[in-house]
Amino acid sequence: MTTIESSPEVVAAVSNASVDADSTSWLDRFVDVFTSTDHKVIGRHYFASGLVGLLAIVVVNILIAVERLDGANITLDVEVIPQLLDAQRVGLVFAVLLPLAMAMSVAFVPLQVGARAIVFPRLAFAGFWMWLGGAIITVVALVNNGGTLGGDSDMVDLFIVGLGVMAIGLTSTAGSVVTTILTTRAPGMTMRRVSPSTWSAMVFNLGVILVMPVFVGTLTYLFLDHRYARTGFGGNEGILDWVGWIFTQPATFLFAIPAVGMLVEIFPITFGKRTPARGVMFAGLALVGVAALGAITQQNLQNLPWAGSQLSASNLDEKARDLVPYVLFNGLPLIGVLLVLLVALQIARPVEGMRIKVSPAVFFAFFGYGMVFVGMLGNMLYAIDDAGVQGTVFEEATLVYIVYGAVLGAMGALVHWAPKLWGRQLNNGAAITLAFAGVAATILATFPLYIAGLLDQPAGVAYDDSDLEVWNILSLVGHGLMAVTALAFVLLMLTSLLGRHDDDAVGDDPWNGQTIEWGTTSPAPRDNFVDVPIIHSAEPMLDLRAASAAPTNGSDS
């Protein structure tokens, strides 16, 4: 067992507090669910909502995929299809990707930096409720013919308001997370000693703080113009022209950074090594964020406007002018994730006597990273005009790759840190099976759409070429498998969460973790640590185990 040294008075005080907590009435506990200042409770809310959002959006994806089975005929109501496409675009980013990425930040970052609480906890929780309220408003608007192609003017207004409220909520929580990382790290924990997950959370949340206000500012114009003037922004059909950038690449790269960071969080634990070249790994994660931010602001320069025989050696200066921004905005995020991969491969390089402790999280993290990486590669191809995939289903496939990849990363985080959240671990065998099912579902749901996009299947649900049907059938199978995977994961989590058997109960450090959250009890107490520990390296728990294993003169400690 691993624990933190504590003075007897503090231990007694905490024990008394926990007795008090146990004796609170159900009403107090019910109220605590809505007003808690415990970051783990807030993080659980984000996780639960993100998983519910995933289940809902997978159903939307299945409906769209069913509609695509016969490209020449429309099965559903014609007016429903634009709402479904809107729900898919908005939902994948705002109901799945963002809440799950935020959940990973809120639930685990304070534990990892050695903080007793998240800074501004009420702001963080208010942010969650705002996001949830905005999501409900958006769903109501879409169901009642709102959305970017909706026919009900008031509902279109409501749709814009819903998006804005969600963005403000997420920004509030992001402010709380970044302040926590910057101001409440344990003594000795410099920024170079924070964990990869914490670093990726900071890059992601800073990105949210920089990007969401731009989104909200434009939405404010869109709302007032749509409600009162309808001349300057193209009505509801202009919504995507002005704010569509947040529902697609490269903005989604920014939101998928926590999933990328999971790879280098889990690999050192799996292979029992320290992370080499931490600066390179941090630079890689930051590069994804910076490049994505830069690309968001310069979307008109990202494409490579080459068509026809552009590979000749003529007009080199003009070609260089086209190529440089394309490579900068599309290549830099890839270089960032490749740097992360290089560090991970360095960790995984076998050495004599290396012991591998395989956990389900490593599969989720690896597959999640891989899917995000393939999505980035796809986006690089999408930006080449000569590839001829713009305006096809290729873009949707790229978005789904990124989002499903990030979902796998978030599932990995839940599997890994479940002991700290509720004191039990998920069934290892079942979780590993779900990781494989998740990656198979992602590939099946998206790769056929890459092929269909290359074969010129237009975005939307209609197409003329019956040869494309097979790719759409495969995509439907993939979304169906993802629905089963998501549902099974939720059930697995609930079984662990509500389980009364002691079989799943774990010690404080079931994975031989390296960071300080594994030094507190499982589940972590409300204040995380009885006493805040002093940090002397980036892997304090590894240091402790090494010191304990080293031969001592005289007696064992």
């Binding site: 040294e5 434009t218 003037a229 922004f233 006493d531």
Partner: protein, 192 residues
């Protein structure tokens, strides 16, 4: 049993200041994006219609310039509060915060005067909708600033005079508001 050595409880590290800095960053990003879209729409309107300001609408320049000058005062008073607090001068701290509040009210009053003098309805076209969006958002920031000043003043009146970080954050907020208004003043009121 493995045990990490326990540290003394760490002192709070400028959480309010960092939080306000992040909030200010978000406000600057939001205003910056709104001004960028304003400039884009203005350029398109001038290209297609020859003018951006609707016919018959005149921007009263005196109150808009007075607002810019008022922000110089707000920054001075905000910094005066920080200086006084550092010198344990509670009286002058409260006086400086009071002056900040009054000049802030002056700015809101001047903006209300601009609204009444322009006689522009929010439904009078894209210019009107965008004008009310950007200046309305700025008024929201002003009201938040006044609430911030009020809270800071009452904390000092209540005797929490060691809370200097709050005043530094308060001054930072008003510096940022000054920069934001300078952008609005130049793009909305000067170049029109």
């Amino acid at each position: 049993m493995y045990a990490l050595p326990a540290a003394a409880p760490p002192a709070p590290q400028r959480q309010v200041l960092v939080g306000v800095a992040l909030a200010v960053m978000a406000a600057v990003m939001m205003t910056g994006s709104m001004l960028a879209v304003w400039a884009l729409q203005r350029r398109d309107a001038i290209d297609f219609q020859g003018s951006w300001l609707p016919d018959g609408v005149t921007i009263p320049e005196v109150p808009t310039n007075v607002m810019l000058l008022a922000f110089v005062g707000i920054c001075v008073f905000g910094q005066w509060a920080v200086y006084s607090a550092k010198n344990d001068d509670r009286g002058h701290t409260i006086l400086a915060l009071g002056c900040t509040f009054l000049v802030g009210l002056l700015v809101i009053n001047a903006q209300a005067y601009v609204y009444t003098q322009m006689n522009l309805g929010i439904a009078d076209g894209t210019y009107a909708a965008m004008f009310y969006a950007i200046t309305g958002f700025f008024m929201v920031l002003m009201i938040i600033g006044l609430l911030f000043t009020t809270v800071a003043a009452f904390r000092f009146i209540g005797g929490r005079s060691a809370d200097r970080e709050l005043l530094t954050a308060h001054a930072l907020y008003w510096y940022a508001m000054s920069a934001i208004y300078a952008g609005i003043w130049f793009l909305v009121y000067v170049t029109k």
